[in-house]
């Protein structure tokens, strides 16, 4: 029998759903079944699903109902349905990394983040589609995925963003309450921005990557995509923490405590006016300007800021390519790399294996200077504010290199390189939906010092108290005719 819930519940926040579970207004079994059916029905229309876990989820939900009946409350995530990017190992289940050569891969233990979410009894209902191998050294098409191109719920002729494609889609379409994604350089922020949901890239080392596919040891991070900054904070609290099995672990925990963040009037925000005036797609400028005005109205101290001057794309390309080629050396030398979907990614892998050590080490040495530059910049301002992406999601029917922006490159760089720059510095970022351009969502990003997630989330929560962009829903219906 088909389960269904009032539409609002599919778009409810974590605390709201958990309150309904605790008050027995709805059971965990009902909630999990309804979300699982929705994920299985709607998810494939958008190529969002790698694997449904409806059966084990239903069993888990039954146990949770037993606990709830006995008033054994385990926190706000108890009974909440979520999805995980298919680069995270789930014991005894296929973990494809979005790539045909790994379609039959099964691990015998859970990734640390999956195990951590079991403690507060969050319920994993599915593994979510992704760009193959999280993009590898490079890729040129939304179709670079074993499960097909991620289609945007706001307009299925456009891309969902990637590489955490399914995670962005599933949250936006109300198929899960939150999802786990990963970012090496932009893979949480991109789908969050393009799908109109909230995404948090944690500080490097705050969340264990044990059991996650490695693309770049020195850049990979795992973080939540959710409906709000508050939900991201609740999830981060559950998944953060030291882990001896992750050599990059910082050994730090995270407690979501926005009430203890300092007065926002004492927070200095750096931005670049040319980001909106010169870099942003003209149709998106009013939304970005309005978002900056909201931030200003919150009483934050706004000032101009500039990134340290480096060729960030050159440096991050070299680092990701060299590390990825080493990680996937067996795939490359065996020739199985040819089974990937994206010709550009195959070629980049094959070429990247010959990157000389001197290039990698030079890029990593310059990266030290970038970190030093950011320490100086973030001594002057507490937070950097910029558009998450300057354009709306691209069309899926053309390779990326055939839909380049025809506008001339602006003379002043502004904060346009903030994603690769802040990733190389290991800094946290929060992506907040801030409006629409040509019917598609656009978003801003906030970047802070290492381990200042609470400050970013507090600003995000206040921003979302003053706006309702994060509550907007795409035109998704469970009815097949509405696909």
């Amino acid at each position: 029998m088909a389960a269904s819930l009032p539409e609002d519940l599919y778009f409810g926040g974590i605390k709201e759903l958990n309150r309904k579970l605790q008050s027995r207004e709805i059971s965990a079994v009902e909630l999990v079944r309804a979300f699982s059916e929705r994920l299985e029905t709607i998810g494939p229309r958008y190529n969002a699903v790698a694997l449904s876990l409806a059966k084990p989820a239903a069993k888990e939900a039954k146990d949770i109902d037993g606990d709830l009946k006995r008033q054994r409350f385990r926190g706000p995530l108890q009974g909440i349905p979520y999805g995980a990017k298919d680069l995270l190992a789930v014991a005894k289940q296929p973990t494809t990394w979005g790539a045909r050569p790994y379609a039959q891969q099964v691990f015998d233990e859970d990734a640390t983040v999956i195990a951590k979410l079991q403690k507060p009894d969050a319920v994993l209902i599915g593994k979510l589609a992704m760009i193959e191998l999280a993009g590898g050294p490079d890729y040129n098409s939304a179709a670079a995925s074993y499960t097909g191109p991620g289609l945007n719920p706001w307009d299925p002729t456009r891309w969902s963003g990637g590489s955490s494609s399914g995670s962005g889609i599933a949250v936006a379409a109300g198929l899960v309450t939150f999802a786990l994604g990963s970012e090496t350089s932009g893979s949480i922020l991109c789908p969050a921005a393009f799908c109109g949901v909230t995404g948090l890239r944690p500080t490097y080392g705050l969340v264990s990557r044990h059991g996650a596919m490695a693309l770049s040891w020195t850049l990979d991070k795992i973080g939540p995509i959710a409906r709000s900054a508050e939900d991201c904070g609740l999830v981060l609290q559950a998944i953060a923490g030291g882990d001896d099995q992750d050599p990059g672990s910082a050994g730090k925990s995270f407690y979501y405590a926005p009430e203890f963040t300092r007065d926002l009037k004492m927070v200095k925000v750096g931005l670049a006016t040319e980001d909106i005036d010169d870099w942003a797609e003209p149709a998106a400028r009013p939304a970005f300007q309005a978002a900056y005005d909201v931030i200003r109205s919150m009483g934050l101290d706004i000032t101009e800021a500039k990134l340290p001057h480096f060729d960030y794309d050159l440096l991050i390309d070299t680092i990701i390519s060299a590390e990825a080629a080493s990680i996937f050396e067996p795939l490359i030398v065996s020739g199985k790399v040819d089974e990937l979907q994206d010709a550009k990614q195959i070629a980049a892998f094959k070429a990247a294996i010959d990157i000389p050590a001197r290039d990698y080490l030079k890029a990593m040495r310059v990266r030290s200077l970038i970190q030093s530059g950011f320490r100086d910049l973030l001594a002057e301002v507490d937070v950097l504010l910029a558009p998450a992406f300057y354009d709306i999601a691209p069309k899926i029917n053309l390779p990326f290199d055939q839909q380049q922006d025809k506008r001339p490159t602006p003379k002043k760089p502004g904060l346009s390189a903030l994603i690769p720059a802040a990733n190389m510095a290991g800094l946290p970022a929060l992506c907040l939906p801030c409006g629409f351009a040509n019917g598609m969502p656009v978003a801003i990003q906030l970047v802070g010092r290492p381990f200042t997630e609470n400050l970013l989330l507090t600003i995000g929560r206040e921003f979302q108290a003053r706006t309702d962009w994060h509550k907007r829903r795409p035109p998704v219906s469970a009815s097949p005719a509405a696909a």
């Binding site: 494939p44 190529n47 699903v49 790698a50 694997l51 449904s52 059966k55 190992a89 005894k92 289940q93 296929p94 045909r100 099964v106 691990f107 015998d108 233990e109 589609a129 490079d138 179709a143 499960t147 097909g148 191109p149 500080t203 490097y204 080392g205 020195t218 910082a250 060729d311 050159l314 390309d317 070299t318 390519s321 040819d338 089974e339 990937l340 979907q341 010709a343 550009k344 195959i346 070629a347 094959k350 070429a351 990247a352 010959d354 990157i355 000389p356 001197r358 290039d359 080490l361 990593m364 040495r365 310059v366 990266r367 030290s368 200077l369 970190q371 190389m424 010092r449 290492p450 381990f451």
Partner: protein
């Protein structure tokens, strides 16, 4: 992460819920030699640009991130 034995793998796959069908999986890409040449050329350009960046001799690679 340890891999399963072939027997364990076969059992796991038999027990696992099927991946959802009807998504738009496509055939693997064919890589033309011009793609490989272009990718190699791109990294060679990177090499030239990286070599031109002047940094203090004492600069060590970034392998640690401090708060």
């Amino acid at each position: 992460m340890a891999f399963l034995t072939r027997r364990q793998l076969a059992l796991a796959l038999a027990a696992a819920p099927c991946a959802l069908p009807a998504q738009q999986a496509t055939a693997p890409a064919a890589v033309a030699s011009k793609d490989l040449t272009a990718a190699g050329e791109e990294y060679r350009k990177h090499s030239v640009k990286l070599a031109a960046i002047e940094i203090p001799m004492a600069t060590e690679p970034a392998f640690r991130f401090k708060a």
